[in-house]
């Protein structure tokens, strides 16, 4: 036992160095060290959770954003058009019924989805089609309500911030509810 302890300490020391190296490199995995060592560090770091970027509210804090959704239906039997349904994700209508933690999770999901149009098509689209049975397609648009810069907000003190916010449209995607396009890879 007395001999086992030094050996244990040496083995643990190797892990200490490895773990600290992963801790320092993995949050910046696109750096030179990250690129050349990620195949030794990545599998471990990604499995235990050392791969996070630690970029809270940075490099720039996010502006208010949401996903605007248009659900399209086929024409009715008499040939008349059925109105498309306009909705949002996360839905502001059920704000009061959703626990705060669930709402935070919905925001997190939405921010992940709008990172690129492919995610909207392959993940959000099929889910929305299930939520609206009978729909033929869904159109999704990432809307950002840009908060005015501080100087402008100070100058226009008498106006509400939402009035001087600017609406910007980013990633948009459409998904056909018949499943065509499902073969696209993530």
């Amino acid at each position: 036992m007395a001999k086992a302890k030094p050996l244990l300490k040496i083995l643990l020391s190797v892990w200490i160095v490895y773990n600290i190296f992963a801790m320092l490199v993995m949050p910046n995995v696109s750096s030179y060290f990250g690129r050349i060592t990620s195949r030794f560090l990545g599998p471990y770091a990604n499995t235990v959770g050392l791969n996070a970027g630690w970029n809270f509210f940075s490099p720039e804090p996010a502006h208010p954003m949401y996903l605007k959704i248009l659900v399209n239906y086929p024409p009715l039997e008499d040939g008349s058009l059925r109105d498309a349904v306009e909705t949002f994700y996360p839905s502001p209508e059920n704000d009061k019924n959703v626990p705060s933690l669930t709402r935070k999770r919905e925001w997190a999901l939405m921010r992940f989805m709008v990172l690129d149009a492919k995610k909207l098509r392959l993940l959000m689209g099929p889910w929305l089609c299930k939520q609206y049975p009978g729909a033929v397609s869904v159109d999704m648009e990432h809307i950002v309500e840009t908060i005015p810069i501080l100087d402008q907000a100070v100058l226009k003190k008498d106006e509400s911030v939402s009035d001087i916010s600017e609406e910007r449209k980013y990633a948009n995607a459409s998904y056909s509810c018949d499943g065509s396009g499902d073969e696209e890879a993530l």
Binding site: S38, T47, P59, E60, P99, K104, A153, V161
Partner: protein, 295 residues
């Protein structure tokens, strides 16, 4: 020379430590994860094929560089309810100081398993909480502040073993690295540099629990908060290493996290971060009421 260096190294990483700080951290961390596990009952369907992520795409949606080797989500979706009940029971027991390394490790596997099933619905509190739970699962964190100590009227306590001492140090290093990185990341942002980033945060109704737009009447407050945040985060490592500034920095951290918790509705994130502060506090300050919980 090598002998001397090894002795420093050995002393820093493996010397026995008082386990009181770790026990306080366990209560705060496991208590928070217990709350978050309970809240998961409201949305267990997030972790099934009725959600956005089909099971077979659970890991494929992650970028290749960030994909785990395998998924810890070893149970079928139909078992989510009993597994979540088990997770809640384990976190409750651990908060009360009942359990050991195996129970804590199992609770980590369950927590990370849910994360791997639907990664995009998780945020800072989950990521940081599970990381510290991983480190903590190698420690004897239930030695102190346990209800079992009360029942058994235990008065003598063990000090940390090699593994516990090492993990306490590793958690100290980890939280320092997290803070430094968050500070450095902010320095990349133009609005953090010019001092107006806090305006974007506080004027964003999706991020706050109150309307803070009145702050444009006193705009100079915002850069002060912004720059203080950056200085706090970037200099966290040296300031908590240095004895003289340690408690000032921890107090700044408590104020910042309470602010984030109360005014941004991110209390679980705040308590997970603040839980690690106990590891920096001298045990003599933590041993406030000798006898209570048999500390």
């Amino acid at each position: 020379m090598i002998k001397k260096l090894w002795s420093y190294w050995e002393n820093f990483w493996f010397a026995p430590q008082n386990l009181l700080g770790l026990a306080y951290m366990r209560i705060m961390l496991c208590g928070t994860l217990f709350y978050m596990t309970i809240m998961r009952f409201y949305n267990l369907w997030f972790f099934t094929d009725a959600s956005w992520i089909p099971r077979e795409k659970a890991l494929a949606i992650l970028p290749e560089l960030g994909r785990p080797l395998f998924s810890w989500n070893f149970w079928p979706d139909s078992m989510n309810l009993p597994i979540n009940i088990l997770g809640a029971v384990l976190f409750l027991l651990l908060t009360l100081g009942i359990g050991g390394r195996a129970i804590m490790w199992l609770s980590w596997v369950i927590y990370v398993g849910f994360m791997h099933r639907d990664y995009p619905v998780h945020f800072g509190a989950d990521v940081i909480g599970s990381l510290f739970l991983f480190y903590m699962s190698f420690t004897n964190s239930c030695e102190r502040l346990s209800v079992l100590n009360l029942l058994k009227k235990k008065t003598t306590f063990k000090e940390a073993d090699i593994l516990s001492s090492m993990m306490i140090r590793m958690m100290q290093v980890q939280i320092m690295v997290i803070y430094a990185y968050t500070g450095w990341e902010k320095l990349k942002g133009a609005s953090w540099w010019d001092g107006t980033a806090m305006w974007s945060v506080l004027a964003n109704p999706q991020m706050t629990t109150f309307d803070f737009t009145f702050l444009r009447a006193v705009p100079w407050v915002l850069p002060i908060i912004g720059f203080t945040t950056i200085i706090f985060e970037v200099y966290f490592p040296p300031m908590v290493i240095w004895n003289k500034s340690r408690y000032i920095w921890l107090l700044m951290g408590v104020s910042m996290h309470l602010g984030i918790g109360l005014f941004m509705g991110l209390m679980p994130f705040a308590t997970v971060m603040m839980a690690t502060y106990f590891l920096f506090i001298d045990p003599k300050y933590l041993n406030l009421r000798k006898g209570m919980f048999q500390t």
